[in-house]
């Protein structure tokens, strides 16, 4: 593979305002139904269920009445320097140079799970079981997203099929560029508090590229050098500090 840079193309990214997030979980529901995510017999087993978008709960560790709780929705970080892509033996995962989105080719994945070992965000899920959909639910499956078979790894694709759909529409109308609101993943669309913004980080007119300049913006585990394209916003210092590891005495 050639070194692929996308400084000129689109660089889709997400900004999640944690101060607005109520932890309602609607984003995860929207994600699951949009992307044909299968359901385990025992969905309470969170170490084996399929979750492209998972919500972590963090607290400031203080006693009542100073306790604060914040929810961190965690989709795939769609890293600019992805640790998972270079390790995949059959080239089943790849960074699109034109969008910056990390794809996963399910029909090529051999299920070695090396990418899961490489990802520090646990953004990848392996299909330990045959995919199953409770009766009735199979009728809601989306024809735009291929369901995954047992034994392969899957992950958030920033609802890539929505990008394809939006592009087809734009091309039909004779446009090469998408408008800001034409391509939005299901989670961002579903969020009732509009905590999730989405757009092209390379486009200065898009809201996300302005939001990431905020002093309250941060990313998860920035020190590792993975360069995630999912940013978070929080006015709370302890939340920002919780996003990465710091040595005692270090300032965030």
């Amino acid at each position: 593979m050639k070194k692929e840079e996308n400084s000129k193309g689109n660089r889709y990214g997400m900004v999640i305002d944690l101060d607005k997030c109520t932890g309602c979980g609607l984003c995860t529901v929207a994600c699951a139904s949009e992307n044909n995510i299968s359901v385990l017999y025992d969905e309470s087993d969170k170490t084996r269920n399929i979750a492209w978008l998972q919500i972590y709960t963090i607290t400031n560790g203080k006693d009542f009445p100073d306790t604060e709780v914040v929810y961190i929705p965690r989709p795939c970080m769609q890293c600019d320097n992805p640790p998972c892509v270079s390790v995949c033996p059959p080239t089943a995962t790849r960074k699109d140079p034109n969008t910056g989105i990390i794809s996963q080719i399910y029909s090529r994945c051999v299920g070695c799970r090396y990418c899961m070992a490489a990802c520090p965000y646990h953004a990848r899920s392996f299909n330990w079981f045959d995919p199953s959909f409770p009766e009735g639910m199979d009728r809601y499956l989306s024809p735009e997203v291929s369901p995954r078979m047992r034994g392969v790894v899957e992950k958030c694709t920033f609802c890539h099929h929505r990008l394809m759909r939006a592009r087809s529409k734009a091309y039909a109308e004779g446009r090469r560029e998408l408008k800001e609101d034409e391509y939005i993943p299901a989670c961002a669309e579903a969020c009732p508090t509009q905590a999730i913004s989405f757009g092209d980080l390379n486009n200065p007119e898009h809201q996300v590229s302005q939001l990431i300049k905020s002093p309250h913006a941060f990313r998860l585990l920035e020190r590792l050098g993975t360069e995630p394209k999912v940013y978070y916003l929080s006015a709370k210092n302890w939340v920002r500090r919780m996003a990465d590891n710091y040595l005692a005495g270090e300032l965030s």
């Binding site: 033996p89 080239t91 051999v110 799970r113 490489a118 990848r124 034994g151 993975t226």
Partner: protein
């Protein structure tokens, strides 16, 4: 019944005793086969692996047996390359053990590949790794090298199989075996090249994980330091493992199979390699603790929590590293039988611990500060496949010992006292 197959000039137990011995190991293999069937039929939910522990017992086992199987390529390299052109005593002494080393290597690599076949979620697509190879992945390098090296090991094993008494009676097979054996140095050289690279890339697999500060290492060009440390540790442990296997074979058969000075030489090679490895490993650990770790914002003790505590590093480097190195490099110690075996065994345990630490502990450590420490224990199906592989190894080694001239010194060291039907032609036939 099988007397005609038994090599000339040596004595073997009766088939009546050998069959129950085999049944025991076949039982273990059956456990492995049942487990493998369940994993293929029902999927990897039969294991206790999960999203956190994407690698489990099988990967630890694979890494370990591949490291221990390094005795094959390294003994071959010392005998056929270094021994032929530089240091003649290597050739003369190690010839006694090189056949056994090849069989052990073959067992290790074939069982490792079989286990990997169960470990991948889509075994039928395993060839995609070759066809759609991503040349930047360490795992691609591992896959290519271990597959090619298993081929080389098969070629190295063949002349031995062809030297079976009955097979030698077929002239074509005898000549072909001789011709293969004649250019064995070529295969030993290729095997050495392949082995160096895949032992290294197995280490590189973990060293390149920059998202996992516990495993990540800096390095030289594209190779992290773990690449070189894994090569070094495997050639340190390989001869010790060969030594142990031969010693166990001696105990089981009640015969001396190789002379004591061959044991000594193996221990000496293993010991000096282990000693230099441990020094480099300590340097690497210190450099990591003061480099990678603080840069990731973590402290050394962050990595040693829960069931995978600080005892692991003490055990790996101190108890099962420094102590066996001292035992094996000190002539006074390694000349004592008990210390020799303890030293070799501790060396092997140390390397297995190292592989365990890199594959399991790496995954157990939370990198996101709000994530939690995890631990893992394999299911009976996972144990089944690992133990089945051990059963297969012992079975194949026993069959090779019984029917092939595995130890060239055996006939000389154990002259047959009672002439039975097995030794009617008492001359020892050696392959020229």
């Amino acid at each position: 019944m099988d007397l005609a197959l038994i090599p000339n000039g040596v004595q073997r137990c009766s088939l009546k005793r050998f069959v129950p011995w085999m049944v025991l190991w076949i039982a273990l293999i059956s456990w492995g086969l049942v487990s493998a069937f369940l994993c293929f039929f029902k999927g990897l939910n039969q294991t206790n692996m999960n999203h956190y522990f994407a690698f489990g017992l099988w990967i630890v086992f694979d890494l370990s047996i591949i490291a221990l199987g390094a005795g094959a390529f390294f003994t071959g390299f010392l005998t056929h390359i270094i021994g032929e052109v530089f240091i003649y005593p290597f050739r003369d002494n190690l010839k006694a053990v090189v056949n056994a080393a090849v069989v052990i290597g073959f067992i290790c690599y074939s069982s490792a590949i079989a286990m990997l076949g169960v470990d991948v979620g889509q075994p039928l697509r395993a060839w995609f790794i070759f066809w759609h190879a991503n040349v930047h992945s360490m795992l691609t390098e591992v896959s290519f090298c271990i597959t090619a090296y298993l081929g080389v090991l098969t070629i190295e094993y063949l002349p031995l199989v062809f030297s079976n008494r009955k097979l030698r009676e077929i002239p074509e097979i005898d000549i072909f075996g001789n011709n293969l054996h004649h250019i064995i140095a070529l295969f030993a050289a290729v095997g050495t090249f392949l082995s160096f690279f895949h032992q290294g890339s197995l280490g590189g697999m973990f060293g390149v994980l920059f998202g996992r500060p516990f495993a990540f290492r800096e390095g030289f060009l594209i190779w992290p330091w773990t690449f070189f440390l894994f090569i070094h540790s495997s050639i340190a442990a390989g001869p010790s493992f060969t030594l142990l296997c031969v010693w166990i074979a001696q105990k089981v058969t009640g015969k001396e199979l190789i002379t004591r000075d061959v044991f000594n030489l193996l221990a000496k090679i293993s010991g000096w390699l282990l000693a230099t490895y441990i020094v480099l490993k300590i340097v690497d650990t210190i450099a990591w603790a003061y480099g990678v770790v603080p840069r990731a914002g973590m402290s050394f003790m962050d990595f040693y929590q829960g069931s995978y505590g600080i005892w692991l590093i003490i055990a790996e480097i101190g108890i099962f590293g420094i102590i066996p190195a001292i035992i094996l490099i000190t002539p006074k110690f390694r000349e004592r039988n008990d210390l020799l075996i303890i030293g070799a065994l501790m060396n092997v345990i140390g390397i297995v611990l190292d592989r365990f630490v890199f594959s399991i502990q790496t995954l157990s450590i939370p990198v996101m500060p709000f994530d939690k420490f995890m631990s893992y224990f394999p299911s009976w199906q996972e144990w089944g496949i690992a133990i089945g592989a051990i059963g297969y190894g012992i079975l194949l080694f026993s069959l090779s010992y019984r029917y092939l001239p595995l130890f060239p010194q055996e006939a000389e060291m154990n002259p047959v006292q009672v002439l039975g039907r097995a030794v009617t032609d008492s001359g020892v036939i050696k392959r020229s």
